[in-house]
Symmetry: C2
Subunit: 205 residues, 2 copies
DNA sequence: TAGATTGTTAATCGATTAACAATC
DNA sequence: TAGATTGTTAATCGATTAACAATC
C-alpha cells in the first residue's frame, strides 16, 4: 500500500462523521462535490483520498452513503472493539472515561490507573481504579490496544516507558511533554494549550 | 507581515514549552540544533520559524533561553489575559474549566453556560453557571475573547451563530460538528475521536 | 584567529488542485 | 444519447530541508 499521510487519515475520520449524519437523514447517495462542501474542502481532495483505498463510487452517480461509510469503517479499523487503559483519574481522565462517543466508535476502557490513594480502590462504572505502580503487571496480564495518558506532564515519561515495556502499541497522550517511542509504537499527542495559543496568536494580529 | 502558517504557530507553542522547561532547569542558552532535538524536528525548521518574526539569536552562540522565551510569549500573545466563556458544563467542560495550565498561560473563564436546570444557578469557583438562553445578552454586556464549546454536537451550530452575533472573535470547538464562521472570526476544532481513529487506522495496518 | 552557529536563499519534497478521459 | 461524476495524471502550491555566507 502507498504510504498514507496523517492528513488523509484525519479527513477520512471527517468523511465518516459526515456520512453517518447523511445516513441518519436518509440520504442515499452523495457526490464528491457535496461531500467536499460538507467537509469544507475540494472534491478533488475527496476523490484523491478515497483513491488510495479503492474505487467506491459510480461515475455519473456518485457514492452510496451506506457503502462508502462501511468502507471507511473498514479502513479506519472501526469494525471491531479497541481496548484502552487510562492513566490519570483526574478531571480530564474522568471526561475521557465517560465520553459517549468513544464507546459508540468501539473504543472502551478496561483499566484505570492513578497514584492518588483516595481514588485507588474505587470504581468508575465497573472498572477498578488501580495504583499506577501495578500498571505494568496488569497490562502484561491483560493487555490493551491503546493507552490514554491524562496525567500531569512530569509523570508522562515514566508511563510511556512502562507502556513500551508492557508492549502497548498505541498511545494517546494529553500531557504537554515531548515523548519519543520506538518503531512499531504509535503515539498521538493532543495538546489543549496549543489550540488556545493558536487562537491568541491570530487574535493578536 | 508574511503569512504565518498554522504549522509554524503550533511549533512556536512547542518551543515555548521547551524553553520554559530549560529555563526552569537553569540552562542559559540553547542552539537551534538542541531546540530541534528536544522538539523532534530539524534545526533549519527552528531557524526558519523564528526568522518570520525577527533575529533572536547570536551567530556562534545560539539563543538566550529567557530572551527567546519572552520573544515567543510576545508573538503568541501570552503577555496578557485572555477571557473565555465555556459552553457546556458536562464532564469535558468541567475538565477544561479546572485545567491548571490555561490560567497559567493567561487564559481564564469568566462565564459558564449550560441548559441543565440542575446546573444553572450553581457555581464553579466564583463563576455562576448561567442558562444558555441568556448567553448572547451576557456576552454582549460582558464580552470575552474566546468561547470554548464543549456541548453535544447538536447544540454547536446554534451556539456558533449566537457567538458570531455577540461579536466573539475566537472559538475553540470540541463538538464533532462541521462549523463555518465569517471572516474575522477564528475557529479551532479539537476532535478527540479523530486522534483515536488515527491510532486504530495505523494499528490495523 | 578558529570553531560554532545564525539567518536566509535555493533546492527538494510532499500535499493539494486542476483537468480530463472513462464511463455510468 | 447527453449530462453527470468518478478515478487518475499532471501541474501547482506550499512546507521542509540543505547549504552556506555572515558573523559572533
Amino acid at each position: 500500500m502507498e504510504k498514507i499521510s496523517e492528513f488523509t487519515v484525519r479527513r477520512l475520520s471527517n468523511y465518516y462523521r459526515i456520512l453517518l449524519d447523511l445516513e441518519k437523514r436518509g440520504i442515499p447517495t452523495v457526490s464528491s462535490a457535496r461531500l467536499a462542501e460538507l467537509g469544507g474542502i475540494t472534491s478533488a481532495q475527496v476523490r484523491k483520498d478515497l483513491s488510495y483505498f479503492g474505487n467506491f463510487g459510480t461515475r455519473g452517480l456518485g457514492y452510496s452513503v451506506t457503502e462508502l461509510k462501511n468502507a471507511i469503517v473498514e479502513i479506519l479499523g472501526l469494525n471491531r472493539q479497541w481496548t484502552m487503559a487510562l492513566f490519570g483519574a483526574g478531571s480530564l481522565g474522568h471526561a475521557l472515561f465517560f465520553h459517549e462517543g468513544f464507546r459508540e466508535d468501539g473504543f472502551y476502557f478496561k483499566h484505570v490507573f492513578d497514584v492518588d490513594p483516595k481514588k485507588v480502590g474505587t470504581k468508575w462504572n465497573d472498572v477498578d481504579i488501580t495504583h499506577q505502580r501495578n500498571a505494568e503487571e496488569v497490562l502484561r496480564r491483560d493487555p490493551v490496544h491503546i493507552a490514554v495518558v491524562a496525567t500531569p506532564p512530569e509523570a508522562a515519561t515514566d508511563i510511556i516507558e512502562l507502556l513500551v515495556r508492557a508492549g502497548t502499541k498505541g498511545i494517546l497522550n494529553f500531557a504537554p511533554t515531548q515523548l519519543t517511542v520506538p518503531d512499531g509504537v504509535w503515539l498521538r499527542n493532543v495538546n489543549l494549550a496549543v489550540a488556545l495559543e493558536s487562537l491568541s496568536f491570530y487574535l493578536s494580529m
